[in-house]
Homo-oligomer: 160 residues x 2
């Protein structure tokens, strides 16, 4: 089971975007963590499709969060990039073979599939409870309160 | 994020093995859910490496669980087949770019990585709490108590 590595970039970029109301050009988001343009564009598109970021065109065009960072959960960002299919997919193997259960008696998911779904729910709930604002605050706390100020300062400087 | 589809087979097969003390030949486990011999062998090997099943050679050779099914968790079976790497892997992107944090100040995992690890822990805990015996009981309850009796009966009949 492996998550797309774009999730790390997307979460960090949403934290960055939470530090400004001004649109941030894709090139600056790429510069911040040293990601290639195509990679950056692909994941910004995913965040945009999921309604997490909004792009504005024009000379000062770029990306902003669509909502306050306290209203965007880590789960939304993860799903935007990694998809929202559950990790475990039941192929109904209980219907196969000599003891196969007829499909019409399989309307309720298999007990094994239910256990796996419950685990996925526990995972989702943990991430639904954490917002992008929480992550920004936690990163800031780890840096003794300098990290987000550094991000804000960097965002207001001209691109290198 | 996607789990190996062998997990479904492995969990069902452990439930099957929980119904007998006698070794069950790989060919019978393959027959039960219609899986190809190579697929079956590969996953039995994984379960064996993880210490969940034990193989005995000889004329009545086959596989047995190494412990009572109540002492084998769903988590162990999932990890045996799918591996135990966490789904989210932090590539330390915080160390990259113009605001990169020096590695020596990154001994504590990033707050984002910690949030992802906490979600993984919630997932693991949910599966650690469910045993193969629980799954067998739940499947049996779903069938109004006929499923495990059918498995036991089938296991005692000669291979077709
Ligand atoms: S049939 Fe899919 S988990 Fe049981
Ligand atoms: S550096 Fe990897 S999650 Fe933040």
């Amino acid at each position: 089971m492996r998550m797309s590595n774009g999730v790390e970039w997307a979460l960090h970029s949403c934290v960055t975007l939470s530090q400004t109301q001004e649109p941030v050009p894709a090139a600056r988001l790429a510069e911040l963590h040293g990601t290639p343009p195509a990679y950056t564009a692909k994941h910004l598109q995913a965040l945009s499709r999921a309604g997490i970021v909004h792009s504005t065109a024009g000379q000062i065009g770029g990306y902003t969060l669509t909502r306050p960072a306290s209203e965007i959960s880590a789960l939304e960002v993860v799903r935007a990039v990694d998809g929202d299919e559950p990790a475990y997919r039941c192929a109904e193997i209980r219907q196969r073979g000599p003891l196969g259960i007829p499909a019409e008696r399989c309307s309720r998911p298999c007990a094994i599939a239910r256990a796996m779904a419950a685990a996925q729910d526990a995972w989702s709930l943990a991430l639904a409870r954490i917002s992008v604002a929480d992550l920004a605050a936690a990163i800031d706390a780890d840096s003794d309160g300098t990290a987000m100020a550094d991000v804000r300062r960097w965002l207001t400087t001209a691109a290198g």
